[in-house]
Subunit: 240 residues, 2 copies
């Protein structure tokens, strides 16, 4: 029939939350699920479009909400980062909301809960890495221009999820020292990991609405296409 969207309201710490799931309803078969974690602005249409692209690949995708229903911000305002800031200051709270979001994904009748992954963008990339760190029962996580500082709780060891980090080399939020530290962290945790660094790309390289003005932020078509391909390659590994 085509790609179906469904708005899902779900509970969790500080909830309710509201996200959008997408899947191809030509079949009711259970299939792998992919959590899509939004950036600094919160759940929005561009996340739903990502979910639809994943649905076209044969997955059930859920563009989740870790800020709370109605809690969204706009670019370039004094309040752009306010909900993100709260979660950066309370990573265990972020963890609780990610667990609730994964549970909402796995509760969908078309999802095979044993075969899930998580991806995220910017702040959502950090959150995807946290999912690997706290061991939430996913096979893989992908961070697109994420942020690499560790949470203040211990990671599982070994980290069981396969980790793919797609990184813009010019990203001022991820300088070489931070990338090296992430590589060391993942190595210490015995993770199966990859970091793909893209020359000429900065933070938010997947964000078609952010022009690259040379400041280390903005859309980069090559990195966008290559990172999506790398994600597909990893999903082919873990989902078959």
């Amino acid at each position: 029939m085509g790609i179906r969207r469904e708005t899902i309201v779900y509970e969790g710490p500080g909830g309710p939350f509201e996200g959008v799931a997408a899947w191809d309803d030509a079949t009711d078969d259970r299939r792998p699920g992919v959590l899509v974690i939004p950036n600094i602005l919160g759940q929005k249409e561009s996340d739903n479009v990502v979910a639809e692209r994943l649905a076209e690949l044969g997955y059930v995708a859920f563009a989740c909400d870790v800020f709370g229903q109605g809690k969204r911000t706009e670019r370039n305002t004094p309040e752009t980062s306010k909900y993100m800031d709260e979660l950066n200051a309370d990573r265990p709270l972020l963890r609780g909301r990610l667990e609730a979001s994964l549970a909402a994904l796995k509760a969908l009748p078309v999802v095979d809960g044993d075969r899930c992954a998580a991806i995220g963008f910017c702040f959502g990339g950090k959150a995807a890495l946290d999912i690997a760190r706290f061991g939430a029962g996913v096979l893989a996580v992908v961070s697109f221009h994420g942020v690499y500082d560790r949470p203040d709780y211990d990671s599982v060891s070994p980290i069981a999820a396969k980790v793919l980090v797609c990184h813009g080399w010019n990203d001022p939020l991820g300088p070489p020292d931070a990338v090296t530290a992430l590589g060391e962290e993942l190595t210490d945790a015995n993770a199966d990991w990859q970091i793909h660094a893209y020359g000429g790309a900065g933070h938010a390289f997947t964000d078609r609405e952010m022009e690259d003005t040379g400041s280390g932020f903005g859309f980069n078509a090559d990195a966008d296409r290559r990172s999506w391909q790398a994600m597909k390659d990893l999903f082919a590994e873990v989902f078959g």
Copy 2:
């Protein structure tokens, strides 16, 4: 008809040289050519096998020789690195031999000389990077566990070939500082580049004949498979 191998003897500085080309001779159509540059041991059967795998992908591959006809070494002997050492000490000579090898590839009647690439392993990875640096008329280069020190001649700017560096994170020949320096070099040269770092992998991660004993050297099946896939993805970009 299947994959055909042909031994090619060719001239160049310090020659003659002897390599092996492979292609699918079901057609005589011109197609993209891929230079395969061997590791420290020189031209050998495992390079020919790589050339055959590339031929199966639809390319003409040429496992070249930069040491000279009959100049080959064995592992773990006092002389393992002797021919490599000579070229590391004379990067312009290596350049001349790479140019001769590329010319031999492009001279094959089944090769579209405007659509070529170069890949290499270990020392050959360094040589592939040098091809990008000196601007030899290829669309892409791929370094598998290469070595990243620059030659003593100036690179072209911009570097026109797309560069993919497949790197084992535990490679003692490529510590984080060397990787960062390579990223800076390629950025300064305005290259279109990617570095893919593989956790848990060391130097020679594609080398099925070298067991990984935890010393930072040896075969790693995940990194081998992922790097080959990344190469295929890049070739799909540049060759269509």
